[in-house]
Symmetry: C2
Subunit: 324 residues, 2 copies
């Protein structure tokens, strides 16, 4: 009997679902729209149907499987209550008791659990990835926003209300850039993919850099992939974007180290594909901000989760963690 869990990643436009084995391999996957109709019961019916169908598919491939759990990653997911609370990018209002609603469809399944996507990624790293042997580490996920998951003594830190691990909203620059959350100077406004774009525009303005490869892109059009491509071609502005992004990120990571003394910081997401371009300035800046007792001790590592399936795989790991 092959034991599997189901990973569900609820995003703003799509909900991805996968059946994942104990090694983190996705046996089969599918996705449905995350609706904008705001009717949670209709969505839960659709989601439960899609999960059932996927499990049936998995049994067609390998009939000898047993589904032990369902793990869900969702924005503003509260682990303690199994709720999604006031998620700005979803159409469901207020507090949604997602785990309770889903459990009614899956009374045969032992564990149904929910957390936010960055926490799920951290658990994924611990169960399947580079943090298997680690008891204390922090995961930073760099994308449209910056999320994080904090692991202490082998357990994810949820804190008093289930929302711990929002390192993307620590203040880097007092009175600095407007963050999507409404506050000023948060890390996310500098180190997310849109934050890199903002840095590029600041530098274009600073250097009056009409000869930059980025100079013909509108603010709407420019993205972090274009910045990476320009950097690979030696574009000075693009290279400085990575340098500054690393400086910002290293400062934030040093704050995390001072709080938690982790063995490692894992970085996940698009910008990590740039390798040394982003890791070198990040590590250098982190070291500059650290107390002597922490210097040259903290590993900054690329996540070992496969980028394409990480959200599903991370969510599925939550179920194993519940059962373990």
């Amino acid at each position: 009997m092959k034991k599997v869990s189901v990973g569900v990643d609820i995003g703003g436009t799509n909900t991805a679902i996968g059946v994942v084995d104990e090694l983190g391999h996705v046996l089969t996957k599918d996705s449905i729209s995350t609706p904008d109709h705001g009717d949670i019961n209709r969505y839960i019916n659709d989601l439960a149907g899609a999960i059932r169908k996927l499990i049936d598919n998995a049994k067609l491939i390998n009939e000898d499987i047993e589904v032990l759990g369902i793990g869900i990653g969702a924005p503003n997911g509260n682990y303690y209550n199994g709720t999604i609370e006031y998620a700005p990018n979803l159409s469901f209002n207020g507090v949604v008791p997602l785990v309770d609603l889903l459990k009614k469809h899956f009374e045969d399944i032992e564990a149904v659990a929910l957390t936010n996507d960055a926490n799920a990624a951290a658990i994924g790293e611990m169960i399947y990835g580079g943090a298997k042997e680690m008891k204390n580490f922090v995961m930073y996920t760099l994308g449209t926003g910056v999320g994080s998951g904090v692991v202490v003594n082998g357990d994810l830190v949820y804190g008093a209300d289930g929302f711990a691990g929002e390192c993307g909203h620590t203040t880097l620059i007092p009175g600095g850039r407007l963050c999507g959350c409404g506050a000023l100077g948060h890390l996310e406004a500098y180190c997310s993919a849109p934050g890199m774009k903002r840095t590029a525009f600041e530098l274009l303005a600073k250097y009056n850099a009409g000869d930059s490869l980025l100079a013909d892109k509108s603010f709407k059009d420019l993205n972090s992939k274009m910045i990476y491509d320009a950097a690979k071609q030696g574009d000075k502005v693009a290279l400085e974007v990575f340098e500054l992004t690393g400086q910002y990120l290293g400062q934030g990571i040093a704050d995390t180290v001072h709080h938690l003394s982790p063995e490692a910081i894992f970085l996940f997401g698009g910008p990590t594909a740039a390798g040394d371009l982003i890791f070198e300035p990040t590590i250098k800046s982190m070291e500059n901000h650290l107390l002597p007792i922490f210097k040259n001790k903290i590993k900054v590592l690329k996540s070992e989760l496969d980028a394409g399936d990480a959200a599903i795989v991370g969510a599925s790991a939550l179920a194993w963690k519940e059962l373990g």
Copy 2:
């Protein structure tokens, strides 16, 4: 049989020792010099002798006591190894195996444990003080430096190497004031007692404030108590020092909340005697920096530990925590 533990607080010039009961009451206390001769074995002999003498004293008062543990708070104290590591203010070089050395003198005592003073204070708050019912909180100690202790799920966070909880060294102002550790812009350079003095001098300069009550003090002479006294008399510079210190501290605390989602932040130390003068701007600033999901949820509380004996009492609590 009354159960007691011994609390030892190793400071730069004095080592304070107390016999403490389970309610956190100091039954008897004493102190010896923390020597500058650098000879750890001589110091351990003196310390062990003083502890024995104090236990004998306690038995004279109440012969029916049983000493279950010794808890030690020390700068750069490493809980995992029981060592003091490269403490800049102590004369002992390198890594000192303090617990092992002390245990040789107290083979009859069940628990001998060591951590840094801020961690000890956090444990004291949890065992005897305002955090008795809390599982997730953070303690900030404001004094010559700024220390902190982080509690998650009812346990102190030591991290991968035993040094977690250095929130005083998070970066508040990139490229800002020189911190005692050598880095720039750390919280400690703004929110410690000397940090408040530095703020006062900046404001005297900014406003050319010859009429301030603080204008006749040299940099060497001015201290945070004088700033408090001037603030009580309505001195504008002194009042703004508290306002700014609160703004700085609130920013740092918000970073801590984003990492850990604690139920409460406890503040300990001299500046907290100023009450609303420091708490109001701290709370206001914290709220301004927080994500909406954390707003109006986090308590910022004054430590309930008695200022005079807090270091001893906190250290003694470490022993109870070991036994519990």
